[in-house]
């Protein structure tokens, strides 16, 4: 970064002082309308002085810190939402990590702005924030991130989720913002395909930190995503509107505003959680690749891959299967989870006769579908994981494979290979229908779930349209 000239620096310092004066004034005043106005004015001034056609300079770390502080401690909807939006916009305007290309032919280079403010402490892997800062101000350390996840899990699970106070909204927006920070940092690093860059990502540093309990953090994340999935199915907002302000200290307007926004915030939190899980699994894959290529060192302490944790959780807690798959939609990873789940329980031929010596385990979704033609194998699978879970796995696996193929088709349309794509789609539908029929025929009294019916309908409709 070019050093700004002296006068500019002074100028900037002056502006900063003025802005922070507004912030300080609002800190010391009573929690009253005036203080609120000051804080909103502060946010407006920060926005106007950094985001706009003729500015283009990021605020200083102090200003950033003050805005972040407002998001973490804000007590009014206006402040929480306003500071969240400002932080998101600032991150969009002033990325901390980006790919730059000096000329059109040269490979892009990863640039990390070292001096940029971050909501996390500098030495994320082993540092701890000073004790006094843990509460509300200052950047986060790994353990406060874990605390946040625990809080969100608790909020969603229980009685705390009411439109009666700001805490649920505040914590969920904070979480969403942090996921954006992880994403902006991880995606360009991951695109570089260099382990050196990937391992330095905030996410990798956080997960590798000894200050967190990785496994319990991941379990909390899974609990959150499943519980959100359940909440979003119900008549959630009616429930919110009914528990009126009798207990709440909030004004009527505030209560309405909160219940009007809470459902959307829950949904966004769910999307953010999926993004986080997807990023972690991509990081795991990058690590595996680096491992095979011999790029990892002893400093890269091993971690249980998230995929394994998810598979364990889904196997252990069968109720979470429909909830998890309903929300988790990234097709490639979703398919991978389904396939691994199925193959864990599909009986492999134990004695290989001469005839089956050419048997090659086909650990794909298509391969799994073929296994249903073996009646005894299907029966043992039903015994092991249950009729309902099999239906969920088949339907969601089919859906994921469909997404992958139809996305591929869109690419093929451009390149001109239309026939091959359509053929693959029809094959998939055909195989799915026959696997489902085989599965159904093992038990005449089997109850077909609505998701199974919908999947069959979709497969049949696509076949009718495409062949």
């Amino acid at each position: 970064m070019v050093n700004p000239s002296n006068s500019e620096r002074w100028n900037r310092a002056g502006i900063d002082d003025n802005m922070l004066a507004m912030f300080d004034a609002s800190e010391t005043k009573d929690p009253h309308q005036d203080a609120l106005d000051d804080r909103i004015a502060f946010l407006d001034v920060v926005r106007a002085s950094s985001i706009g056609p003729e500015y283009g300079k990021p605020p200083t770390s102090k200003i950033f810190g003050a805005v972040f502080h407002m998001l973490r401690t804000g007590n009014s909807l206006e402040i929480i939402v306003g500071s969240y939006k400002l932080l998101v916009d600032l991150d969009k305007h002033f990325p901390r990590v980006y790919l730059s290309r000096s000329s059109s032919n040269s490979p892009s280079k990863l640039v990390a702005v070292k001096e940029a403010w971050s909501p996390f402490i500098d030495c994320l892997d082993n540092g701890t924030a000073e004790a006094g800062d843990k509460q509300s101000s200052g950047p986060l350390d790994p353990s406060s991130f874990q605390l946040l996840i625990e809080d969100v899990a608790e909020i969603i699970s229980g009685s705390k989720l009411q439109a009666a106070n700001m805490e649920p909204l505040r914590n969920m927006l904070l979480f969403q913002y942090l996921v954006i920070v992880f994403e902006d940092d991880f995606i360009p690093r991951n695109a570089s395909s260099e382990w050196n860059m990937q391992r330095e990502s905030l996410l990798s540093l956080l997960l590798g930190s000894r200050k967190i309990n990785y496994k319990s953090l991941m379990k909390d994340c899974l609990t959150i995503i499943c519980q959100l999935s359940q909440l979003l199915q119900g008549e959630f907002s009616k429930h919110l509107e009914l528990q009126q302000s009798s207990k709440s200290k909030l004004s009527r307007n505030c209560h309405v505003a909160l219940s009007l926004s809470l459902f959307g915030v829950l949904k966004d939190t769910c999307v953010s959680m999926e993004k986080l899980l997807v990023m972690i699994m991509n990081l795991d894959m990058a690590r595996k690749k680096a491992d095979m290529e011999g790029h990892t060192t002893r400093a890269d302490s091993p971690r249980t891959p998230l995929m394994e944790i998810i598979l364990d959780e889904l196997a252990y807690n069968k109720d979470s299967v429909p909830l998890f798959f309903k929300t988790f939609s990234e097709p490639k990873l979703k398919l991978e989870i389904v396939v691994q789940y199925l193959w864990k329980y599909i009986t492999k031929p134990s004695v290989r006769t001469r005839k089956s010596s050419d048997y090659i385990e086909d650990a794909t979704f298509g391969g799994a579908l073929k296994c249903f033609s073996n009646k005894t194998g299907t029966k043992s699978l039903m015994k092991k994981i249950g009729v309902d879970v099999i239906q969920f796995l088949l339907a969601h696996g089919f859906q994921a494979q469909l997404s992958i193929l139809s996305n591929g088709n869109a690419d093929a349309n451009i390149s001109g290979d239309k026939e091959g794509g359509v053929g693959a789609l029809v094959d998939l539908c055909q195989n799915f229908i026959s696997a489902f029929n085989d599965f159904r025929s093992t038990d005449a009294h089997m109850e077909i779930l609505s998701i199974g019916k919908e999947a069959l309908f979709t497969a049949a409709t696509i076949m009718a349209a495409k062949s």
């Binding site: 004034a25 706009g52 102090k62 939402v81 200052g138 199915q233 119900g234 869109a410």
Partner: protein, 424 residues
Amino acid sequence: MDMNDPLDFELEDDLLKSPAINTKRKKIIGLDDLLKDHYKEQNKLLERRKKQTKANTKAKKRKTSYDDEDSKEAKLTRLVEKCHKQLKAFGEEEDIPPWGVKVFGDKKAFPPVEFPDLTCCNLLNSFLNNKLNSVVELTVDKGDIFLEGLLVNGWLSKLVFVCGHVEKSVAIWAFNTMLYSSKEELFSSSTDFWCAILSSEEEVNQMPVKIDWFPEYADLRRALDIYGFLFKFSSSSEPNSLDSDVEGRPPQNTRAWIRFVTVCCLIRSKKEIFSTVEAEEIVEIIICLFLDRQFLGLLVLLKDCMEAIVNYFTDQEWCSSSENIAKFIACRVSKDLNCIQTIECISEATPRCKQLRSAVAYQTLLSCFDGVNSGEEILRFVTGLHIFCTSPSTNNWFQLSLASCTFPESIHVAKVWNLQTAYK
């Protein structure tokens, strides 16, 4: 880090804090503070004079000026006291109410989300004879429940993208569920569905998915009317005097409405859903929603929508449209903190938004000063009153009109402004 920077404000460690930072930063001087200081000074001056005159009378008799001075002093004291009282009375008046307008009134009855006859829906109808229907058990009377399942579990959008076609009955049904279904999951899924099919783009300028039916603005307007939106609200009526809990409470579907409008604005190159006049009305509606405190939590949605709709216009349209919008807003919103909110809710992030902000500020000022019709006159008037520095709307309009040169007077205005600053 800058050497001049004090330590981060949030570091609580006293040991590390240099004493210089402990002294509180000076607050920006407000007009009230200046006045207070002024009166303090005057009082001090008076006291001193009193003492002086007393001393003078004791020590020497300065006959010539004595009477004169005494009456002057009394006059001044009275004046100061009067001013002081007035100031006090002014301060004791109740606080200026915060901004906030009730833009929603009574909800009307929601139309039932009817599923059209199964025979109209080719998607479902063609399956009835499929041999797999012995398993799926789709019947004529359960068509809507089945379609809901397809929508909520994501099958409908997969089907539509694979087949590249949305038939009319499905499009209308999804549109109506989005706006009128009370089931949270359902209307939020149909919003996702509509947003996905509208914004799908594999090829530039061509819809990859053929959609047989598009809503018109009238459909959207009708929905807002049913939600209870007051197209003719008056911001001067009492904003917070709501006794009933249900009255004036926008339904959850309003969120879907905003999201849908935002996506419609982004696809103008593919499908022009709104006419210019309609788009103007949408901007006005969004600004009105910003005025309702019940929408505080939807700031992100509203800001995105505002940015999208402002960019919907072509450059030629925008010149006159921004002025029309500004005039509309200026004459509808009362001249209190609400009119400032209408200005501040428009971001400064893009040149267009900035221009709109400036236009709204300008029109608001024009309507504040009745009978004044140019920027220059306003400025003279305002500088005459010496309240220039406290009026955000003047500031906004002024800075922005200079920057964007929207108004022919801006050069004159700049001259007057220079005079004013030179005078300061």
